[in-house]
Symmetry: C2
């Protein structure tokens, strides 16, 4: 019988994260004055130990023992050979995936939620605030905070709060306090409610509320936490790719193609960055971040300086962006509805080290159902986007008659997103593709913004 899962013991778990900032040049974030941001300026928002990680250029950062202990609840995650999918597609390609859906919150998000909660704890912080859209991040942070006995407060975009009540319930089981945003608890929230008492809310408002709730705590014991985009978040996720490398080594394989869905960029980077290191050192690998056609940042939007949030509270980040005022169409993959993209991914795409792909929602779900009926696991809406690209690549390998090794990240399961599958089966699911006119509009926004410099990382 062919082995399906390549396992690592807990002893084999990576003891360090990989920090790609040691190996590539990046444009710095800019403050309101147009000058590079001083780390101290962020001290009211993040604990200093995480700010240090954000700007570190050390290649390897130790994973603390107390983080490893919590990781061991679900890590190392299995590397799975998708034998049944290969058979169904009759492809000569060997398809492997990291199964990140096995964590208690059901996604890759706790890979960073756990260390973030830990470093806040060590820094003496008693309470963490955050925002959440569809709820994956809010539940992962609630889970992590329960492990270290920290309070967790989640501002959840009202429309999701109302439409996805079970994410809120998950947070409650872990002791997280989830409230609808805009709320009456912050000035940002009250302002938004005054403007429109029936507003569905937005990620931008929720971020504003969470930051305000953190910095306005007079005890100084509250900080804010972000689930994607930032350098240290991507670095925590590299545990995925580092494990995958060890696992592939065990079976004597190395990937020709690496695929992951990309919203803010964290799960994709987690898998791919340790292999980008190899590519920078001469390895030939095709690396594909896959985004939804409804929110095409790296396939169509310009590489610019833009704010990470809608309200413009964050520094300007060098990234592919549709504009911080851009509101993506209501696709089910809430985790891919972000106007920008992690600066690291943006930089690597702009230099051609990674090649961005976009798929439509219908293509994504069609792929997801094929994979659910073969590999068994029901994929998250976000993961479905990666799967559409995986199936394309497997078919291409068949046409070319090549025994390629394809590696992808199964970012999460879809057990809390089953309504989206109903939507697909009912024939009511829509595709959303941005028109050229809409794209031009987003380019105009950036006419007066500073431009990232051209850098050469290979």
């Amino acid at each position: 019988m062919q082995t399906r899962k390549i396992l690592l013991s807990e002893d084999e778990m990576p003891r360090q994260w990989y920090n790609i900032l040691a190996d590539i040049k990046m444009n710095p974030p800019l403050g309101p004055d147009g000058k590079p941001v001083n780390p101290e300026a962020l001290a009211a928002v993040f604990p200093m130990n995480l700010i240090e990680q954000e700007v570190s250029t050390e290649r390897w950062i130790d994973i603390p023992e107390e983080v490893l202990k919590v990781y061991s609840i679900w890590r190392p995650s299995p590397l799975v050979r998708a034998l049944s999918l290969e058979k169904a597609l009759d492809t000569p390609a060997k398809i492997y995936f990291k199964n990140e859906s096995l964590s208690p919150p059901g996604s890759h998000k706790p890979n960073t939620a756990v260390p973030q909660a830990y470093y806040n704890k060590v820094f003496g912080i008693k309470k963490i605030t955050t925002e959440t859209g569809a709820g994956q991040w809010g539940s992962a942070l609630s889970f992590a905070c329960a492990q270290y006995g920290i309070e967790c407060k989640v501002f959840m975009v009202r429309i999701s709060f109302d439409q996805k009540p079970y994410r809120k319930s998950m947070m409650a089981v872990w002791g997280g306090n989830c409230i609808a945003s805009p709320s009456n608890e912050t000035k940002a929230g009250r302002d938004a409610l005054e403007k429109d008492p029936n507003t569905p809310g937005s990620l931008g408002i929720a971020i504003s509320e969470a930051i305000e709730a953190a910095i306005s705590d007079e005890t100084g014991q509250t900080r804010y936490s972000l689930g994607s985009v930032l350098n240290h978040v991507l670095m925590h996720q590299t545990v995925i790719g580092l494990e995958a490398k060890k696992q592939l080594e065990k079976v004597g394989e190395y990937p020709d193609v690496i695929i992951g869905c990309a919203g803010g960029g964290s799960n994709f980077s987690g898998l791919s960055l340790p292999f980008v290191y190899d590519k920078l050192n001469g390895k030939q690998i095709d690396i594909y971040p896959v985004e939804p056609s409804a929110c095409p940042t790296i396939t169509r939007a310009p590489f610019v300086y833009d704010h990470g949030d809608t309200a413009g509270y964050t520094p300007l980040l060098p990234m592919h962006s549709l504009g911080h005022g851009f509101v993506p169409a209501p696709i089910h993959a809430g985790g891919l509805r972000y106007h920008g993209m992690a600066p690291i991914v943006s930089q690597l795409v702009s230099e051609g080290i990674m090649e961005a792909k976009a798929v439509t929602q219908l293509e994504a779900y069609k792929a997801g159902i094929i994979v659910a009926r073969t590999e068994g696991i029901i994929p998250a809406p976000e993961t479905n986007h990666a799967l559409a690209c995986v199936i394309d690549e497997a078919k291409k390998a068949k046409e070319e008659g090549k025994e390629k090794v394809i590696l992808f990240n199964w970012s999460g399961h879809g057990l809390l997103d089953l309504a989206a599958y109903d939507n697909y089966f009912s024939g009511k699911m829509k595709d959303f593709i941005l028109t050229d006119e809409e794209m031009l509009k987003s380019e105009e926004i950036f006419a007066n913004y500073p431009k990232p410099a051209l850098l050469k990382n290979r």
Copy 2:
């Protein structure tokens, strides 16, 4: 760092199930004439290869290669040392659990759904019918049928069909066809609808519909499948306990106490029966099936002959039963709302080889939340009943100052049952405990039924 998960490789997966009928005497099932049922009488309902397993007295039955291949999607399941829970309870007990929540449908159910689908396939069957209450079994069978390319038709009790729409969505993703029962597709369904067009349905009616749909297919290519209670179902589940034994051996441990929740008895038996074998051969182990106080079959109901279904279509089975007309209170643990108990468990309890426990719904959820916040995984409502007993035993070990080894089965996750946790947190969750008067009523039912003989298995 202390190891949390004891893993087995796929090579170490058990190659045989353990059949306890080789080691204990049982009362036979009785037909309408009061005589032991002839296996051939069941041929229209089940495929003959499964009927042979049901009555086999071979101790070891080979697990087919094609079943092992599908098992390998999630098996072997990890044996987890509940380090965080031990710490929170400050107990000298060592607590281990088999994590059966990692299967794609999220419970232990596919351990038998997969071989049942396989044996039907081998027997030339094209379509399987079944009933489901809360939906765990229907989704597990849909998953299994997708693996072998068999059609799956699930009759789901209407009230659950309406209240738990996402179980139906899961089945659809795997290609299962789930309809509300009573339906217009069977005579049993039409009769029920004629009697009461607004009936919420019942497991009894759904079983009747599923059996009728199977036996009335004139091509002879449809059979019916049951997810618990029967001997072959419990035998398939023994893969849990056989793995657990190997895993405990690896760390040089043997359980003093074994705990599992028990509705029909299959997850509990899956873990415990391989250890019952040891107990029959002289080992000292306390073995506790835990049921809800709202449906106290093995703690309070008599050991009798009763029908497995409400309508009385099945043979008379020797079991602890509240009467086949008994309608349990609407507790959230749908999988524990069964009027009877597997004959094997009933027999072993009646002889004192296992000692039944009952806990209330509120006790169960209180325990579930403690465990979710320590071990991380959100437990299924059914699992919460086992957890209440685990915590009791761990506290008892502390009082006695004994370093006991406690082993329990984590039968499933609660990600599709989060509304129940909301109900708990809102303070609206109710306890249901049967009065003595209600119990007496159920004893009266059996006045004219045949009685199981006294047997001595130790």
